[in-house]
Symmetry: C2
């Protein structure tokens, strides 16, 4: 003789509830229900038992405690073992075989209310506990948390152990995501899922999880793309990463800084940043560290950019930028991430974001750059893919090359681009930054051959350090040690 089957129904989302409830009745289940679900079943004239009639415990604390009762959890957590079954009998507890529960999405609560009392009240305790109990005991108690699964359950009744496990996986995933939302809310992190048309390429589906305290789009009818957001990351880290009183502007293309300048006025900072590589700037992202002036805005709209980002905008500046309906304008409040995660084939890599402020020590000659310039230049260097070489004049990026497997190739490409876009003859002084040590003196020979006045800033740490130092001194090159390596891949 098989024992009679029992199901619990306690759902927020009542979609298709009649279908599954009627099916359970047809299969001779007794349904136990509570609150809104019970009222809904009543309307549909589906017979069921009120949970409080079974537990003899009425709902207390305005519904805060309804199902948290040993008669419920005993029935969810019991196995078919004779010792379990004997205990249940003694305690007058019935077995539950199916649990139909879903929770009001906490992320919707947070979106729809600013009242923290109301939000806390929405944290589900009972339903969440029911689901976890059924997950633990899924071989006996099937948890169904998604109304879209009712038809599958009906079609495949009775479920195999493999299919029961699938219900358990979906259920534990759902409650975990629910608690991630709660955790984020408690920490003041409000992450919104931002749908993207696609990822880095059209064949890649993608979404973004954006902290809604980080930025807001104040103009532009098009949404940001995956690549825009990735570029914005570099742009904001460079623009906001330097604690400078002066005006910073940076231009990013293909996630690489192709322009960057620090000047007294914002307009000058933009003009100098653009001059670094006017060809690459086309279609790029431009970021500023200070409120955007109308002055700068009128210059910006003369070129084609995809995104302009700044902490704030003069009213008139915004009016000017809004004349370009395709131009996305972002008010970026602050940056959030101090830790960055990146997937690899085998899992994930998690590291602190490279916010280290490096110091400089002379190897030969006198340093002519002020500390805030050095910090800014290194901030730019940090966002050029390794191996990287960057050339600066007194206050801006003039040429750069990265993504190279050999340092001397990066040097060559950097000087080649310098010659393409600038008149080498009028260049008075250059500051060359390397993201890691020179492995051999060939790089220094190459720099010397350029016959330009170049001060070199580089980390050390090569086996050939003594040869490098020797070469620098013998040839009287101005050379300064950067305290840290700044790889970026």
């Amino acid at each position: 003789m098989t024992r009679k089957k029992n199901a619990i129904i306690s759902v927020f989302d009542k979609t298709n509830l009649g279908d599954i409830a009627n099916f359970l009745i047809k299969k001779n289940f007794t349904i136990y229900s509570t609150g809104g679900s019970s009222q809904y079943l009543k309307k549909l004239k589906i017979p069921h038992v009120e949970i409080s009639n079974y537990t003899k415990q009425k709902e207390i604390l305005g519904g805060r405690v309804k199902t948290l009762h040993p008669k419920i959890f005993g029935g969810l957590l019991s196995t078919g073992s004779s010792s379990h079954q004997k205990e249940l009998k003694k305690e007058k507890i019935i077995n539950f075989d199916v649990l139909i529960v879903n929770l009001y999405p906490f992320s919707d609560t947070v979106r729809n209310s600013k009242n923290s009392h109301k939000i806390i009240e929405m944290i589900d305790i009972g339903g969440h506990s029911l689901i976890r109990a059924a997950v633990k005991n899924y071989k006996k108690t099937v948890p169904i948390v998604d109304p879209l699964d009712y038809q599958k359950f009906i079609k495949n009744f009775p479920q195999t152990e493999i299919s029961k496990k699938k219900y358990a996986i979906k259920a534990i995933q759902q409650v975990t995501e629910y608690d991630v939302s709660i955790t984020n809310w408690f920490q003041g992190i409000q992450t919104e899922e931002y749908s993207l048309r696609y990822g880095e390429n059209p064949q890649q589906k993608a979404i973004a999880l954006i902290n809604n305290k980080s930025f807001t789009q104040v103009s532009g009818h098009k949404k940001l793309s995956y690549n825009n957001l990735l570029d914005l990351d570099a742009a904001i880290n460079i623009a906001y990463g330097s604690k400078a009183n002066e005006n910073i502007c940076t231009i990013i293309k293909h996630n690489i800084p192709c322009g960057g300048a620090m000047k007294k006025t914002q307009k000058e900072s933009y003009k100098k940043a653009l001059m670094g590589d006017p060809l690459s700037a086309f279609g790029g992202i431009v970021a500023f560290n200070k409120k955007l002036s109308a002055n700068t805005a009128s210059l910006l709209v003369k070129n084609y950019y995809e995104v302009i980002a700044a902490p704030d905008f003069e009213k008139e500046a915004l009016t000017i930028l809004k004349t370009k309906s395709n131009l996305r304008v972002l008010k970026v409040k602050k940056f959030i991430n101090k830790v960055e995660q990146r997937s690899i084939f085998a899992g994930a890599l998690i590291q602190d974001t490279n916010r280290k402020v490096s110091s400089i020590k002379a190897i030969n000659g006198n340093n002519k750059l002020k500390k805030n310039k050095i910090d800014f230049f290194i901030n730019i260097l940090k966002y050029i893919k390794s191996n990287s070489i960057a050339l600066f004049d007194q206050d801006s990026l003039i040429s750069q090359s990265g993504g190279q497997t050999s340092r001397v190739d990066a040097l060559h490409s950097c000087f080649y681009k310098l010659g393409l876009r600038h008149n080498k003859k009028v260049i008075k002084k250059l500051f060359l930054f390397s993201d890691a040590f020179f492995p051999f003196t060939d790089s220094l020979e190459f720099i010397k051959k350029q016959k330009l006045k170049i001060d070199i800033y580089t980390p050390m740490g090569s086996q050939n350090d003594s040869k490098i130092i020797d070469y620098v001194k013998r040839n009287n090159l101005n050379c300064f040690k950067i305290s840290d390596r700044h790889f970026k891949h």
Copy 2:
């Protein structure tokens, strides 16, 4: 008159439990406890009430149901409101003000056992529910989940609302991480935290989360670094990403393929991959798609590499590789991630991994490459940073350049490196791959000027497509459209 305070103690980790329990007694709390915690308190002669004496419900189902009782949850979830307090009085429920609970780490369970029945038995339901209830009601009921917090609690007693919230945040974080472990286990994902000396640079702290089904280190006394793991990602995606019967070898440096070949024999595939850029290969990562032969191993040890990866190793091959104690040798089972996540300043970007197999369509001329070669070449292209250009001979990578903000710069750098490392005069035929469309005909002019036999493979989609097609036909260049763009940043 203030009411009497009550605390629940139910801990797995009993570190410092005497300190906090004695303190609570001193502060006139009544302690309610159960199971092992109660026994421990008895030994310390700390007075307390057995929870089952209070609920009048004995533990059932071998401890599966102990605390899941309205008299417990009512006391955890009650606020100070008069309606709540009236109800509690009527139901003979007491208020709980402090909850001291910690759970046996589920990740340890999984590490220490392969028995799924035992693992499931370790999924905590009661303690977890207690913690979540206290989190919801943290303003009244402080949840303490970490024994290291007892001293802080004692020192700052009574806690402010701000400090209570901090306990709640820690508690919800802990139970969420606990459920993430369970979710991973259910899905068959076993992630191990792999400590790293540092991240991309020494100033960045880092850890790796590695799926222990993905690879095992079979030789080398040094552990993998952050940059090794990042390079391994590119290496494995290229080596394992092509469904080829032939032998594939790829060499990665700075997360960029500097070598890649597909040949009949493994030894030839390695020799050709190395010939692509012998300079950059130094210190790189070498990956193969097939079991490593002793033959190949004896060649490999002649050069300096950091990592060798393959699906398996001939016994003798391993013996040969083990002679280099610094060389890390990895047996890579399979790749896992189909979805990749990447942090940005404002949150995270999540996208499908680019595993698209593109098709080719002639614009002008006849394609001379077999499908498996094209797939392999595009797989290499996918891992060169954008804008990227790669040059191949019949079966291997000959030169590449990426990380460029302008396509024509990438072309220039690629051909410059070709000339540096290869004798252009002996090159019979080249296959040029571009990761995205040529925006102008200047790139084609540049290619034509090289005076080499070059077949061009490129995605289309520029506003100047018609000009590009026109140029290709007029100059009778062999040119083929790749169906998809393959940006990588």
